[in-house]
Structures are given as structure tokens and as C-alpha cells.
């Protein structure tokens, strides 16, 4: 039963990595920019929710606070694109990379200044609950994390397949010029993608903070999620989720089997292996661009 226990905790962690990786992929696909602050978006979303919910701050009802936090992060993503990222339009891609890394630093220290650098836990209605399924002990938080992740991924998948806005986002990412020609307001669509990236990060943050304490530097685990996105193919939504799950599953087993300290290497070792043997990722969706 030891192994099942590791699998379950790995799944829950992997879901959070997967959700952050989803944010990377969303923004990359639609705007060709990699948002290296995605992990810090997650952290900010978590702290906004903690601020709204926890008794020592606002003390709002959890179910009221969660949608507010998600919407706030959506607005944050939208405004960040309109006010900052869009100004770099036409600059080399490296400029956007450095910009988002800088935004990550700013968020880390701003959050630390407002809500302190101490680790904090989100107070959820399901905290501490335990379900015993066939001898495996599952925390309610872990169950919630897995269910919410599956629902959100399914929702996004359908959104891109069926909704007019989702198709417009795909179109704008596949051929920006042609998107202008068919009358898609490309700039607004890109801002909306940033909003979606912010909202998904908020969900990831809420899930993360409900199963363990979070502090401002937690956003750095965005790097791990970046590895997850690379493993998944960096263009595919299901790929991002599965990349996240792989990394989440590998971590506890590496910690169990390897000497202390070595387990942290495992996610990146897997990323390297994938890059060497399957450079386009496990779920490559990108076509080679025709010249």
C-alpha cells in the first residue's frame, strides 16, 4: 500500500504542475510568448484567495471568495497584457522572456511585502477530512485537487473545440495575419488569453494552498511546470497536463528510492531525456513550418 500512497500524493502534486503548465501552453500558443511568471501568477492567485478567505484577513466565505479570486487574476492577466506585454510587440522574443522573468520577481517581492514571507495555509471547508478508500488514506484536499484539475482540463478542451472564442484563439495562434484578414480582433483575443492564463493560475494556486502552506517564493516551482510543458510538447493542452502528472509522480518515487537531494534532479532529467529522444515532446502538435 506504500506505493499507492505515493501515487496518490504524486497525482495531486502533478495536477498543480499540470495546471501551471497549461498556463504556459495557453499563452505560448496564442501569443508565441513564454510567460515565465506563470508560477508566480499561481502564487499570487493563492495569496489573493488566502487574503479573501483566512480569518485573520477578510474572512469571506470560501465559495464566495474563490470566484472573486479567479476573476481578479483574470483581470490581472488582461491588464498586464494591455499595459505592459503589448508594448513589446515587434521586439525580439528574448525581450518578452526577460520581461516576464522580471514580472515574476516583482510579484514575489510585492506579495512578500503585503502578506509577509511566512508560509501560509488556505483555510478551506474540506481541510483535514480523510477518506479511506480500500486501505488508501486520501485527504479531501487531494481528492479535490484531482477532480478540479480534470474538470478544468475538460472544460478548456471543449472550449477550444467548440466555442467560437476558443476557435478564434486557436486561429490567432496558428496564423496571426490570416486572423486579422477574417476580422478577428487579434489584440483583444491575446489579452483574453492572458486573462485565461491568469484565471487558470488562480485555480492552481487555490489548489496548491489548500493542500500545503505557500510562501512568496513558491512561484519558483513554475520552472518545474515549465519542464512539464516541455515534456508534454509545449503546444498541446492534454500534453501539458500529462507532463505535469509525470513529474508529479516521479518526484515522490525519486525521493523514496534515491539518496536525499537527488530527487530534485528527477524532473529535469526526464525533460532532458524527452528533449533528446523526442524533441517535439510526447504530444507534439506543432507542424514544421513550411517555408
Amino acid at each position: 500500500m506504500d506505493i499507492m500512497q505515493l501515487v496518490v500524493s504524486g497525482l495531486a502534486n502533478g495536477c498543480v504542475y499540470g495546471l501551471i503548465a497549461l498556463g504556459f501552453v495557453l499563452i505560448y500558443k496564442a501569443t508565441e510568448a513564454v510567460n515565465f511568471a506563470q508560477g508566480d501568477f499561481m502564487m499570487l492567485g493563492a495569496f489573493i484567495t488566502i487574503w479573501l478567505v483566512n480569518a485573520e484577513y477578510m474572512g469571506l466565505n470560501f465559495w464566495v471568495a474563490v470566484p472573486i479570486a479567479i476573476v481578479m487574476m483574470g483581470i490581472f492577466g488582461y491588464l498586464l497584457d494591455v499595459l505592459v506585454v503589448r508594448r513589446l510587440f515587434g521586439q525580439p522574443q528574448i525581450a518578452v522572456v526577460i520581461l516576464t522573468i522580471a514580472i515574476g520577481f516583482v510579484l514575489r517581492f510585492a506579495v512578500g511585502a503585503i502578506w509577509t514571507h511566512e508560509p501560509q495555509l488556505l483555510e478551506t471547508p474540506f481541510a483535514g477530512g480523510i477518506a479511506n478508500v480500500g486501505g488508501i488514506v486520501l485527504g479531501y484536499e487531494e481528492i479535490a485537487v484531482i477532480i478540479v484539475t480534470l474538470l478544468l482540463t475538460g472544460f478548456l478542451f471543449l472550449f477550444f473545440r467548440r466555442a467560437k472564442l476558443g476557435k478564434a484563439m486557436q486561429a490567432a495562434s496558428q496564423n496571426q495575419l490570416a486572423a486579422y484578414y477574417v476580422g478577428i480582433p487579434v489584440k483583444r483575443i491575446q489579452s483574453l488569453v492572458w486573462a485565461l492564463g491568469g484565471a487558470v493560475a488562480a485555480v492552481a494556486g487555490i489548489l496548491f494552498a489548500s493542500k500545503g502552506a505557500i510562501d512568496p517564493s513558491t512561484g519558483l516551482l513554475g520552472i518545474k511546470a515549465f519542464a512539464a510543458a516541455v515534456i508534454g510538447g509545449f503546444g498541446s493542452l492534454p500534453g501539458a497536463l500529462i507532463g505535469g502528472l509525470i513529474i508529479g509522480m516521479v518526484e515522490p518515487f525519486a525521493a523514496y528510492a534515491l539518496p536525499a537531494g537527488y530527487s530534485q534532479i528527477a524532473p529535469y532529467a526526464i525533460m532532458l531525456l524527452v528533449l533528446i529522444f523526442r524533441p517535439a515532446g510526447l504530444f507534439a502538435q506543432m507542424q514544421n513550418k513550411k517555408v
Binding site: 476557435k167 486557436q170 476580422g183 507542424q287
Partner: protein
């Protein structure tokens, strides 16, 4: 010709960085017409279309559609006004299916009934697209991608359609096929067209009126029939060879408009 001008361009200027690509172009397209713009590579034809459709911004001059100024509008607002640009080189969405590509052409519209009618109309003109509906658009052949781009443009229910080199890179048979469809669309669906072409022969066959562009400016304009019979057009764009008295080829001489 009593029909009113749907599209009116006056003294349009546009730049690529410091280079003046469009030098004061004026033209008009009347209701129901096919108007063609002829010219060699680099004459500024594509730039002109991009400036009209709002993908590039105009430095000077005005563009009016049905009397409304559109030269300050964003590209998506111009599509909403009923002007759609079918770009050269088959700019399609390669990973979306053929059907999704066609449907997204109606992005600017919300009249469900009209969209459904136009879908039927588009597939009746391009039956091959209906057969390939579920396939990823990137897997279509060049001619089919060109048809897809035209079909996608039609889905916007355009009052004016700008067509950029629909014959580019296609076999003579396919060029013929596409131009027959364009002519039918013009006659049966009353689509007004502004057609840019290097293939002057087919363009003048379908067009009512033509402009000749060189170095970013209009150098000549007339009824298509008149252009077809003009010595200059025949020599420089239709490839008609003619020996002069001294045995020099006509292309060694100066054009009359210079």
C-alpha cells in the same frame, strides 16, 4: 455606368519603414463590378490591398466604403463593415479543419440563419471543400487552399472582396477553374471584387475595369476591353510580340506613360 462607388480610395500613401510603397493612389470600385489592378512584382499591389483592408495603416489619403471613412479603422472593424481581404499565398489556419476554416470566416457575423445559408452557398461553389470538411486544412493541395481562402472570405458576406493573386502558383487549368468560379460569384451572388493579378490575361477577361500600377502609383486606367486592346498592355502584360520597322522588340522602347 450609373452604379455608385462602393469603395473609393483617394490619394492614398503608405510606407514600409522609410520606403514609400504607395504614392498617392486613387481608385474606385462600383457596385457589382470586378475591378482589376495589374502590375509587375513590387509595384505595390499587395501593399495597396493591405492598406485598404486595414492590416497596414495609411500615412495619407482617405478610403471610403459606401460613403463611410474606413482608413482609420482597425482591420476587424473593416471586416464588420463588409470589406474582406483574401490574401495571397493561401493564408489559412493549417491545424483547424477545413469546415472550421470556412466557419471562422463568419467570425464578424451573428445572424445564424444568414450564416447557414452562406455555408450552403459556399459549399455549392466549392464542392471539394465539402468532401474534405473534416481534414486539417494544412493537408489540402495548393489549389484547394486557395479555394478555401476564397470560401472563408465569402463567409463574411462581403460587400467588397479584395482578392490578392488568386492564380499564384496554380496550374493553368486550376487558374481557369478559379476564375470561372469568381465570375459566377460576381454574376450570381453580386459580389463586388477588387482583384490584384500578375496574370493580366485572365484578369482582364473577367474584369469590367482595370488599373495599371507601377512603382507605387497608378499609371493607366480604363475599361477592361480598352486595356485588352491597348498596345502597351499587350506588349508589357499580355506578352504579345510585335516587330517594329527597325526590327527592335517593343520592350526595348519606352512605355507611353513614362
Amino acid at each position: 455606368m450609373s452604379a455608385t462607388a462602393v469603395l473609393q480610395v483617394e490619394n492614398l500613401e503608405a510606407y514600409y519603414g522609410p520606403i514609400m510603397a504607395i504614392r498617392g493612389v486613387s481608385l474606385e470600385v462600383r457596385q457589382g463590378q470586378i475591378v482589376t489592378i495589374l502590375g509587375a512584382n513590387g509595384a505595390g499591389k499587395t501593399t495597396l490591398l493591405k492598406t485598404i483592408s486595414g492590416v497596414m495603416s495609411a500615412a495619407k489619403g482617405t478610403i471610403h466604403m459606401n460613403g463611410q471613412p474606413i482608413h482609420r479603422s482597425e482591420a476587424d472593424a473593416i471586416v464588420k463593415q463588409g470589406l474582406v481581404h483574401v490574401p495571397e499565398g493561401r493564408e489559412i489556419f493549417p491545424l483547424l479543419s477545413v469546415a472550421e476554416n470556412v466557419e471562422i470566416g463568419a467570425y464578424s457575423r451573428s445572424d445564424k440563419g444568414g450564416i447557414a445559408r452562406d455555408l450552403e452557398m459556399v459549399y455549392s461553389y466549392f464542392p471539394i471543400l465539402g468532401e474534405r470538411a473534416k481534414q486539417a486544412a494544412g493537408t489540402l493541395s495548393g489549389g484547394q487552399q486557395q479555394m478555401l481562402a476564397i470560401a472563408r472570405g465569402l463567409m463574411a458576406a462581403p460587400k467588397v472582396m479584395l482578392l490578392d493573386e488568386p492564380s499564384l502558383g496554380l496550374s493553368p487549368i486550376l487558374v481557369e477553374e478559379i476564375f470561372v468560379i469568381l465570375k459566377r460569384l460576381n454574376e450570381e451572388q453580386k459580389v463586388t471584387m477588387l482583384l490584384v493579378e500578375q496574370n493580366a490575361r485572365v484578369a482582364l477577361e473577367v474584369a469590367d475595369y482595370g488599373y495599371v500600377m507601377e512603382l507605387g502609383g497608378i499609371v493607366m486606367s480604363d475599361e477592361a476591353v480598352v486595356l485588352q486592346n491597348s498596345k502597351d498592355i499587350q506588349a508589357f502584360y499580355l506578352g504579345v510580340r510585335e516587330q517594329t520597322e527597325r526590327g527592335t522588340r517593343r520592350w526595348k522602347q519606352r512605355k507611353t506613360w513614362r
